[in-house]
């Protein structure tokens, strides 16, 4: 722990970017989250943005002596302080892979020569890791997609991807928390809400959490959707 070679760069006049080596790995993710906890305990920041291999620290003022700030961070990284590990939750996300939602399933199946049933199985049997949340409010960047179902993004993005669309883009998979444009291949739809602004925690998941997808029928999808609407749905933790 805390023995990666990190790079520290100033980012504009009021932010510092800390970078790990350029790879996606859970060991790096855990180191990032540990360091982030230490930093947030010590510093009052305007914001702290986590990426696959980086933390961007946004200060509330222009950094006049960034060298001093970086030296402080370097020392803090090496400092062996006890950090209370954040509880990792494992969420089970219902997804309906019915063809009316999974509009790209047939095409993917043809391209990678794997039946749609198998694609669904490969997508649901994996435990994914939430690396961070970005792109849209409540959009989880998930790692762990089975190599057999890696599919390049569509050449031309769709202008309207519906809310809840479950999709694959390259080696990533995710759920669109709201209607937006998007270039990923759509394989299903989830009835649950990934971002509810009026909730105390607008997004239930956090970086470091685990996710699995559970295939549900169209009837179950509608039932859950209604429960979500009436705020009676309790997301399953594993």
């Amino acid at each position: 722990m805390s023995n990666f070679q990190l790079s520290y760069k100033t980012y504009g006049d009021s932010a510092i970017l800390i970078e790990w080596s350029s790879e996606i790995s859970e060991i790096i993710l855990n180191d990032i989250l540990n360091f982030k906890s230490k930093i947030e305990k010590e510093l009052e920041l305007k914001d702290c943005i986590v990426g696959y291999n980086s933390i961007l620290l946004v200060y509330d003022f222009v950094l006049i002596n960034s060298i001093e700030k970086i030296a402080f961070l370097k020392e803090l990284y090496q400092h062996k302080s006890f950090i209370e590990k954040k509880k990792i939750a494992h969420w089970e996300i219902p997804v309906c892979y019915d063809k009316q939602f999974g509009i790209d399933l047939d095409e993917i199946s043809k391209t990678i020569k794997i039946s749609t049933q198998e694609i669904i199985q490969l997508h649901t049997e994996t435990i994914y890791t939430v690396y961070f949340i970005g792109f849209l409010p409540g959009f989880l960047y998930l790692g762990g997609l089975n190599e057999q179902i890696i599919i390049p993004r569509k050449a031309t993005p769709r202008l309207h991807v519906p809310k809840g669309a479950v999709a694959i883009g390259g080696n990533q998979t995710g759920v669109y928390p709201n209607q937006s444009s998007g270039g990923w291949n759509i394989i299903g739809n989830s009835p649950i809400s990934f971002f509810e602004v009026q909730n105390q925690h607008p997004c239930f998941a956090k970086a470091g959490d685990k996710i699995t997808f559970k295939s549900v029928s169209f009837e179950e999808f509608n039932y859950i959707k209604n429960q979500v609407k009436g705020k009676n749905y309790q997301l399953q933790k594993i």
Binding site: Y11, E19, D47, F132, C203
Partner: protein, 281 residues
């Protein structure tokens, strides 16, 4: 109360934005030109964080349902109250029943209407700034009624004003720092980026400004990482995108430059076909 009689092309309520929610993917938002906003609030002795109405390209009409003190800052679109021309960057007394409208563009893009006492509107995640999916409305519409915090007559301000140099709106120079991937460009590319005069394309809005010129480069996409308003991204196809206040919190394109806060404000007053040139601080 202020009633929107005509909402123009794009008007919204904005303050200095919502920070601290990047971990759930929420953009900062907030006024595009924070300098102009602060002048208005300062002249009215409001808190500098007070929400204002951001008006794009004038064209709006507002009816004042009660007497108020207001201030107009930023872009000059020949504002009039009941047909009488009024000055920018001045505290204005507005009588009950009068109508504020805008006319011909003199300079700039975004005008700010600040009101003594401030706007009383929905606060979501510590901010009043409109953003689709976060606040109930994301743009002002005809018929909307904007509530104003009540103030006592002692709070009334003398009719102070300040003079703003028009130069702030016409200068081409955009100050910036090197972005984290700047050094990955070749020396020639680095020089070219600084020496070229770029043109703003017609794809410019609160999310970002795309530039017209194609900047050929060999940079590879990066692992998705944090971005900020003012980050200049360079795509593999050579497109330069300057992110603005409503930008996403993370991105995967190399970040070649980072604008200063002042430069973001200057850019916020520019539009399609305007020329800019980056200058390294």
């Amino acid at each position: 109360m202020i009633t929107v009689l005509n909402s123009g092309i794009y008007s919204s309520i904005q303050d200095l934005g919502r920070s601290g929610f990047a971990h759930i993917g929420v953009p900062v938002s907030g006024v595009m030109d924070s300098y102009a906003t602060k002048i208005g609030n300062q002249l009215l002795h409001n808190s500098l964080e007070e929400a204002v109405i951001e008006i794009t390209f004038g064209g709006c009409k507002f009816l004042f349902e009660k007497g108020l003190q207001i201030c107009l800052t930023g872009a000059n679109f020949t504002p009039t109250i009941d047909g009488e021309k009024v000055s920018m960057n001045s505290v204005l007394d507005v009588k009950k029943g009068s109508v504020l409208s805008f006319g011909k563009k003199i300079f700039g893009v975004r005008t700010y209407l600040s009101i003594l006492g401030g706007i009383s509107s929905e606060v979501v995640l510590n901010s009043k700034s409109f953003y689709k999916g976060i606040t109930t409305s994301f743009v002002l519409k005809k018929g909307d009624q904007i509530k104003i915090n009540s103030t006592t007559s002692e709070n009334k301000k003398t009719l102070s004003k300040i003079k703003i140099e028009e130069h702030n709106f016409t200068a081409k120079c955009i100050n910036c720092c090197k972005g984290p991937e700047f050094e990955l460009l070749s020396k020639t590319e680095q020089e070219l980026l600084i020496e070229t005069q770029f043109t703003i394309s017609n794809d410019n809005n609160r999310v970002g400004y795309r530039l017209k010129e194609v900047f050929k480069n060999q940079l590879k996409p990066i692992l998705t990482s944090g971005v900020l308003p003012g980050t200049v991204q360079l795509t593999p196809s050579g497109e330069l995108i300057i992110l603005m206040r409503d930008c996403q919190v993370t991105g995967g394109y190399p970040r070649v430059l980072q604008l200063t806060e002042e430069a973001i404000n200057i850019l916020a007053q520019k539009t399609t076909k305007d020329k800019i040139q980056f200058e390294l601080k």
